[in-house]
Symmetry: D2
Subunit: 373 residues, 4 copies
């Protein structure tokens, strides 16, 4: 495959540039009979939409989605579902000066080396605008996972720059522009972002995403392990530089007697595994952490080269998120949903007839009510 | 695909259980005309082989590889290369007591839930023995990458439990049983492992892997980014719980003005990106960190359940690595090689005719001569 | 994959129902730098367009294509190319009576059994309208094949019902509504179609498609042979019931001494192979024959069942091609182009460095100047 | 993928050359819990084995299969099943004279052009010996299809050169060396083959393969239609030049009122569709015809070129089947089984929850008791 299709049985093929006429995708392999409405998708898109607070890019995009196929009489038909989002608020002239130069830390240079030239308007295909499509596709996956298995996916910002954000209450996540599960942190986050914006610089972030209700058995070792496909999905989001499952890098200093989650008939006693053992879901919560690098488009002046390879200084004006990590929360949720639905279908394709004599045991803890460790 | 095939154009399909008759793989898509000899593969297998020091499992496996196809007159023919490794030293009776119970932190429980039952002898398909096959396949990939592009891949142990191992000299890596790039650390590592073994417990580890000489342009965004496929490959290795590219989780607290690697006609001035921008190689060293969890098979007694779901205590005797992270070094190198060759072929499939006017600029630093930051 | 993506490196993912808002596709993996204009695609679509003569369906669809992504400054960028065609002339009420019944010979029954229900408007996803998308995608493939390798693809109607159409002149193909390479046959074909239409019945047809200029070496045995992928592509076109490569079923009564194409330094002396040996192109013309069944939607009354499984009589009014074989000609050309570009890219992915000492020998005969035997 | 993996969920990856150490495959995605024994596979291999009559190649190969993985306690585990067949009776010196020349009608020339050189011993990878692996893998698929759905697959020789073989009795197929469903034809077939062998020439053949008991709903339109994947599978068998589903090329001269199979509550009234409509199985018998070209390795002298491109005369001594079509019967059955199991798994992956209100209606006729029209 050429890189823009995600998944094996439930596939999402994505298209679109930041300043082209439209972005969108084709979902193939959706189970038929799922009640699906434009609003199901729009709701998720609105969570990621730009321009909703002063802390994110001021580009005004309604991100209105149109369903072009695959739904009839309010139900998915099992045929491809095409989703279309027209771009509305392109200001390509902001990018004219970027046509000849490469932003440090950006894909400008690598796209040019790979393809010989690039659509430089708004970052072209490398723009985070592309992730709206993932959120739209993920909305379909989430709806099915919830309806069919009761799976519930939730993400939040767990760190902004140096500021750790202790998990307090999942219900707070939707109440602030930071996806922070902690109301008392919000003033500090606002002050941090205001200062950051003023400085012309950008900041990194850390995100946590969990899935509750995933039954044991999903994942296809040895290569297409559930955690391997999650890592692929997450590292494939713009600006992600690190992925952890469960204990993650903390496992380096754990002993086996600490890390290995003990089991009782009542359930696992801890979740250092993050819900995956041997590449297969355990039935506990899936827990994933992501490291998001600071936005590469900043107003500060930096050393670079131009198309001819000569030294230049580059500063980026345009409209950018000072911390792309914030709006990455719904994107990470969507990617987790896409991995899970794909493995749900793959699992039942191979193992639909399996009857296991061993009872399924429950997870260690209620979902989303505590920090991911 | 059903999970045991890795890659798109250069594919490796793996088979085999720990205590079955054999393990092995089929490599498909290898470019024809590569000089390939059994010894090229055996050399790499010997680096991962068990029983080579007191610090790893004492299972005695010669891991002798046989090439069954795809090589004629000393050259690859372009047809599938089948590799076969017979298992020699199975002691399945060591595992009889594990047939009825699940080791905490192990795939025992999840394999049973997925497939209804499992081959419990030596961990069956979930055993790290499977990774020998990856090393064998990776040896073919490495040889081609070196011959065709001069790519050089190297991995090392950068942390063992709490002991950080400062990078001193790449040449030392092969001189000790720990793949440590630092001779002076070795006594401390030996003492640590001796104590660990005696305790009956196990320890985690951290690994660094790099690739030098990768040209700019490899990687297929938006989903099959080079870093996404690396994350998939690495998280798919047994016991890996975290993956970082370049700065990784350190990017969370970096500012954009620090993280974004500046460019000059003489090359990049730093490598926080880890050699990948926008999912495409930059021409700098690819740098990857892995977190490896402690071995789940330990002699200490732990709470678990049996096949009937009843509470039991489990301790594992058998022969196991007290730290699987050590022998994971050549495995991680192999997986990086497999990702790179696949993207090399994919890139030239699509972009063989590309002529880029912008000169390629070099990397920030000589390869393997300094720690990965 | 879920069935609506075609190809391995050059992929086409298709969507759309006959009476939904739109049909279209995403092309992924197109080589960058190809000059591409909306008109390149529209020209091919116009060849297949309905309503252009009295012998095809009278549905009025302009089939205007919009390029949504992947082209910048008139050149393909290497990123996904999305193509959109809005449906204009749906008369869904014509199909209301089909909602409850199944047309004999149609996909109505099988879609219902597979998915539980179906979009019955105009045949939904099973409508031949879907093939417009293939023509649009094929136009991109053809342009690249021609520009890069000089490959020229041509199809024609070789039989309509009982009327064989001897090949006379390729230039005539575009001069009549039947894609007939033979001007003198046209009056007979017109009379046949007029009588057929009046009868309320439908007719089968036979198509020949060839590709000239394909270099030796394309095709990936043992499964993804060039001819195997051509058979897959062609049998996947609506209404196709048979595929032949080269001599096809005539090979059954040939002797080896007749069938095997002799070679001289000046070229092959015949082309019974149809340009493929061992699943790899020979350098001769690729020659493919297709059998197209008669349209299943006919005005004559036929026995069937309804949704409840009860006996009913069905006749189809609506607007349909009395012989779908006619408009299938550009579709078959497009599918051949898609197979060829995919294998061109796959071949150079694996074999870009191959130098063959044996000279390439030419084909047996000038392209398209004689019947395909 | 690189061409040697067949299938999407149930995959077979094949390796091996005619005169290399071994041939074999890895089956991935087999449902767990299937009772599987070496004998299940050996039985099918013995049907295809060379040297069983004077009418086929005299190469003596026991084709003894070894199961290397994926089966435990007599049941498939859900992990990859590796099958190994050692080559025993290579006489590579027979082929020394072929090292420098290309047989007309053979893959010699195309393999050399593609890969730069070739393993010329016994035809290397292009040898029909490779098809033993397909039969072995197909045996696993058949066993599951039979056990899980009651699907029964049967093939026979329907024409040898000019001799049509009327279908009389399925039970006769196993009673003669020609897979002929007609005892009275056997003397004529024997005489034909004796004369053919003496002449030094070879002959083509026609095969019919059917599957009885396939439920409605298998197949993934629009590209991965069941018939499209069957065509791909069959055209990918050595020497196949044509594939028909149901009426095949006879559909060209049919009217819609004749071709479209009428339905009643008691079942379909005919089976011109060959069991597939719109790319999805109907529940009727799947019926496929194949055209097999005459063997290209013949003793008669023919014009060709050598590695340097100079004119030569070539005659092939070695040991070859004078009609490869005969032993292709079990190969075609195996390929049909592989397509069916893959689509069975794919179908339940996507549509496991579908409940269809319309009753399934039966097929037109008892299976295998009448000729395929």
């Amino acid at each position: 495959m050429a890189g823009n299709t995600f998944g094996t049985l439930f596939t999402v093929t994505s298209f679109g540039e930041s300043h082209g006429p439209a972005i969108g995708c084709i979902i193939d392999g959706c189970p038929p009979g799922l009640a699906l409405d434009r609003a199901d998708i729009q709701t998720e898109l609105d969570r990621r939409r730009p321009g909703t607070s002063r802390h994110v890019t001021q580009r005004r995009e309604p991100d209105t989605v149109e369903i072009l196929s695959g739904v009839f009489d309010g139900l998915t038909t099992g045929t491809p579902i095409a989703l279309l989002i027209r771009n509305q608020d392109q200001r390509s002239k902001d990018y004219a000066n970027l046509a000849e130069t490469f932003r440090p830390g950006h894909a400008d240079y690598t796209y040019t080396q790979k393809y010989g030239f690039r659509d430089y308007r708004g970052g072209g295909r490398a723009s985070a605008r592309e992730t709206a499509v993932r959120v739209a596709a993920g909305a379909v996956a989430r709806k099915w996972l919830k309806a069919r298995y009761g799976v519930c996916i939730r993400g939040w910002l767990s760190q902004l720059g140096e500021i750790a954000i202790p998990f307090v209450d999942a219900l707070e996540i939707g109440n602030n522009p930071f996806f922070a599960p902690n109301a008392s942190c919000v003033p500090q986050l606002e002050a941090y972002m205001d200062a950051l914006r003023q400085s012309g610089d950008s900041a990194g972030a850390k995100i946590c995403v969990t899935a509750h209700g995933v039954p044991p058995g999903w994942g296809a070792p040895v290569f297409d392990r559930l955690d391997a496909d999650i890592a692929y999905a997450m590292m494939g989001i713009n600006a992600v530089k690190g992925v952890e499952i469960g204990a993650g890098f903390a496992a380096v200093t754990q002993k086996g007697s600490e890390h290995g989650d003990e089991m009782t008939p009542a359930g696992f006693l801890s979740n250092h595994a993050g819900g995956v053992l041997g590449g297969i879901s355990t039935g506990q919560d899936i827990r994933v952490n992501l490291a998001i690098k600071p936005t590469s488009s900043i107003r500060l002046s930096r050393r670079s080269i131009n198309l001819a390879g000569q030294p230049v200084m580059v500063d980026t004006q345009g409209r950018h998120d000072p911390c792309v990590g914030i709006r990455a929360v719904p994107v990470a949720e969507a990617m987790l949903a896409l991995v899970l639905i794909d493995h749900a279908l793959r699992h039942r394709g191979q193992c639909a007839d399996v009857v296991c004599q061993t009872p399924k045991i429950g997870g260690a803890a209620p979902a989303h009510s505590e920090p991911p460790a």
